[in-house]
Symmetry: C2
Subunit: 342 residues, 2 copies
């Protein structure tokens, strides 16, 4: 019945209620003064006609969409899902909808998404993409789209940043490792195009080793649990020990399982840790030691910053999240003053 019928417009409501559309608009937006009697009359006809205001037309008229654009690489990673979830919670609280712009590790595609964000008329954007550089982000800002950028320092009047800090904890962990007679060779798992977070940590890893004059390895591996698992099953046929740092839990879990399944003891023979802590870390056995950052909190924070930015009430334009060392069973505990790791 209702099927091919067009959308009920405010005009039809006005006609049916015998008022002008201006009055209907006032009733909808609960502003301006309307007689209780006419208000009721309008509300009744709205209900009986099943009228729903067109968000589109409202947005066009008010220049506000109550819509936030979220740019992320693939929603498939658990830490991204957590991030998204944090955003979602706050968005709901603040009355915003989210439009997803998912990019998959290609700068070209990311740029295309930025264009889409601009024409999509969102009120603001949260950008978590590893392929874009500051210039690309500035581009979106020049179009007057307030943005919160994750894991990258971009300045601009309507741009805020959420930064991650791995430096201190990474440096400390590595140096403590060697000072407490860490005797396994440390390897950093490099993933091509995995983004800024990893690249930064890798640099820090290398720098710390060079400062101490220690030998290290960079191992290229795929951004896939299965392929990494298979790779390391091979690897452990000839290499029977090592200390590995991977950027995602899932990748770290692959190394850990490969070690265990190869008959090696974790953490005695092989130690593993991850740069981003998610639930995976608690589920595997032994549990994973991680440099953890609560991505759910990051998402929340980013969204709060964005709403503040939209209200012109954001004072501190940069938020910093320090990675926290969460100890699991995948590494030997060297925190005590009298290390017992024989």
């Amino acid at each position: 019945m209702n099927n091919e019928k067009d959308r009920v417009t405010i005009y039809q409501v006005a006609k049916a209620a015998g008022v002008s559309l201006a009055t209907v608009s006032r009733v909808i937006n609960k502003q301006g003064s309307v007689t209780p009697a006419t208000r009721k009359k309008v509300e009744d006809t709205i209900a009986s006609l099943g009228y729903r205001p067109s968000g589109l037309a409202q947005a066009l008229a008010t220049n506000r969409t109550t819509n936030i654009g979220v740019v992320i690489p693939s929603a498939n990673y658990v830490y991204i899902a957590n991030f998204l979830n944090g955003i979602t919670d706050v968005a709901k609280e603040k009355g915003y909808s989210l439009t997803l712009f998912s990019t998959s590790h290609s700068r070209e595609e990311a740029l295309q998404m930025i264009e889409k964000v601009i024409s999509s008329h969102v009120d603001g954007a949260i950008i978590f993409d590893d392929q874009l550089d500051s210039e690309d982000i500035s581009h979106i800002a020049s179009y007057n789209v307030p943005a919160v950028v994750i894991d990258q320092k971009v300045s601009g009047e309507k741009v805020a940043n959420v930064l991650f800090n791995y430096d201190a904890i990474l440096d400390q962990t590595i140096k403590r490792y060697y000072s407490r007679r860490g005797d396994k060779k440390m390897s950093f798992l490099h993933v091509h195009n995995a983004g800024r977070l990893l690249a930064h940590a890798e640099k820090k890893f290398i720098k710390a080793h060079e400062e101490m004059g220690k030998d290290y390895a960079i191992i290229n591996c795929d951004d896939s649990y299965t392929r990494t698992y298979n790779y390391f099953c091979e690897y452990f046929k000839t290499n029977r020990k090592g200390f590995f740092i991977a950027y995602r839990d899932s990748i770290a879990a692959a190394v850990l399982n490969a070690a265990t399944d190869s008959g090696l003891n974790v953490p005695k023979d092989v130690e593993v840790m991850s740069l981003v802590g998610t639930k995976y870390a608690h589920i595997v056995r032994p549990t994973l030691t991680t440099f953890s950052i609560d991505m759910n909190e990051v998402g929340k924070r980013a969204m709060y910053m964005l709403t503040d930015l939209l209200n012109h009430s954001l004072v501190e334009k940069t938020a910093k999240f320090d990675a926290e060392l969460v100890r699991g069973g995948s590494t030997i505990d060297r925190s005590g003053s009298d290390p017992d790791y024989r």
Copy 2:
């Protein structure tokens, strides 16, 4: 500089290029005929002014948003993230954006989201929410929003369905279990408000047991890895064996880890399986046996169905996904003709 400037409109482009806005519109949409010369002229001024068409105004004028609404419960579950990822891939391919409407296990909120979907003017919707009943969905359809509904049969001219089928495999598995001298008591982990999929499976579980006159248990537990883990650590202090069916990998992993950490052998003492298979199943040790459905595929399929629906080219309005038994180490293999499970 560009900051408080208003958006560049098609009108400004027309003026700067010395043509009418209709011509600019033609250039943008690459339709109608335009002289190469004027085309170039327009394109140049578009570039120099940095003009971007307003998706809003376009949508209002064409009555098409190229936007799909996706209704899901919390993006935090891995299987939902997979689902979302499948949708994302196809959406990108077909040129649609996604607007997220996340509901958290409350019917009231879900209804509110439906209202939002209607006023958001999306071209179509994919609905995966366990709290909504057919009537609620029909409501959205009556507003002329084509929809693909997951895990629920709803009929309507512009409604398609993706259904899950656990019946056969669940029934078969349970019956085979008992016929092959399955001697552990089977327990079904009930989670309050966890939705239709679980409720359906639970009914089937009970029915199968009653048909065979076998004893069983329903265990209430939280929809949280940690709380379930703690609960079962207690549980295994007094109960030293059992066969457990949980609806998510994460919950199943909690039982599995609690068993192992309590010194029990999986699958000898305790067997566990899950109703939805994700990567978790491969990462835990022993690996999880699951009734798996590839949620990424479900997402893809749903999105394909929706685009077909929008093109009026959808012939089969119902897609069925049969759960597949993926054997892991968390259960004893009873598939062989000569079972060896002593």
